[in-house]
């Protein structure tokens, strides 16, 4: 499955790097998600929309984003992280 996840934060550097590494760790447990492409970006990049299937964001995203958005702040604080990861998985499958 060639789905695309776009991880968004303020700079495309700091918190999104943390989130990407957590999502990679989690998805590596599922062989069916082997082909998933994870890219990083900053919130300014999606002002004109995105071609990703799921957006995972540590900050508010503009309403130009029409695909499912998952709030990743719990991945940063550590608690409630599991639910967020499951939400991402569900969004990938398209539920």
């Amino acid at each position: 499955m060639k789905k695309k996840i776009l991880v968004i934060c303020g700079t495309g550097i700091a918190t999104s790097t943390v989130v990407v590494s957590k999502i990679k760790d989690y998805l590596s447990k599922f062989p069916e998600f082997a082909g998933v492409q994870i890219t990083q970006g900053k919130v300014m990049d999606v002002l004109r929309g995105t071609d990703a299937d799921v957006v995972v964001a540590t900050t508010q995203v503009p309403d130009s984003v029409k695909v499912p958005v998952v709030n990743a702040v719990p991945l940063l604080t550590g608690v409630g992280a599991q639910q967020v990861l499951e939400q991402i998985k569900k969004a990938l499958v398209g539920e």
Partner: protein, 458 residues
Amino acid sequence: MVVIHYIVSLGPSVVLPIIIFLLGLALRLSPGQAFRAGVIIGVGFVGINLVIGLLAGSVGPAAQDMVKASGIHLTDLDVGWPSTAAIAYGASVGALAIPVGLLVDIAMILAGLTMTLDIDLWNYWHIAFIGAIVTIVTGNNYGAGIFAEIIAMMVFLVLADWSQPWVKQYYGYDNISFPHGTSAPYFVIALLLDKVFNAIPGFRDLDASPETLRKRFGIFGDTMIIGLILGLLIGILAHESVQGILTLGITVAAIMVILPRMVAILMEGLIPIAESAAKFLQSRFPGRTLYIGMDTAILIGAPTTIAASVVLVPITLGLAFILPGNHTLPFVDLATIPFILALMTPVFRGNLVRTIVGGAIAMIPTLYVSTALSPVMTIAARQVGFKFPAHAANITSLVDGGDYFPLLMREAAGYTGFIGLAIIFIGVIVMAWLVRRYVTRPRGGGEAVAGEAYAQSS
């Protein structure tokens, strides 16, 4: 003493990995993880050094030519927060900022003065930066540098507590606060400006919609394009050849894209350290009512902040060109404006007109301060081995380099040494007590417990 001198002389790309490795072991990472974390940080440091070399080697001489050709005296290059952070962590007291910051945080909570648990380890570089410049202006007094780091950490914690009610009201984050060195000082400026704005008839009722501005100025959100335009502009003002102008345009665009990537490498090394430090901190305070201190990166997606930031890019550049006595050429940190605004927006309750006007007013001292701090920053950069041609230019940054708080610390330490720092130290304790008394006074009930905070809201 000889051993210490030898280790310091190895330079930060070697010393940082060693310190991070030891810190990782102390925070119970496996030796393999700690070793890898240390090496990656060294690698990121080398990468940043390469890009700063490129920046100073291309834009530096062009800025000099610009002075000669058009009399526009903007020769203090804004190398941006990525470089400033690297300089800060690379300084001799820099890496100490992490253990010092952690201990100050624990001490402040135990003393009941603040209630923010700062797990955003990356941004401890702000206190490292203040430590580094104070060390330099006191003639390499490491004691003064570390004392300055302690004070800086306290200030950010107090500001985080103070701004939390605004964060809660505007962004809806109940148990998160923002002891972030870039954003927190501007919260105070916004409080003052908001009072002034309220007193101006007519103006106080103005607002605008973020949507239209964001679309019209969207181009300024693309840092690569800003780089290109800026490079071309400097090339033209410097009366370069057509080839020179075009080359400068692409080079500057490249710097804007590559520099943040290098910082991402540095971050990758810091992640395991930050996570084990967060666990360490949270395990100290089971059952305490605390805020979790985070990076304002999670706030800057607010529509008002984004819209105001894109408008402030050309405004900031314009100000740099017209303000007499300003020598700062804004540049990499044009992309960091959202962070400067992150804690101003909630004070202005998301009012776009106030955020733009307030942001523009705040940029004036920011530009002057960054000009004033550029000599000491240039010394700091050279001390950590960043190479750029002599006499080419000075470096500075809008973020931290343009912040009044580091300037205050430099003045206090430079002119009065420990006495000035001690006065600020006492002042901060009084401020912490006032904030505790009037802002975060425990009310019982409504607040959650650190560690459980997110289990509840997610």
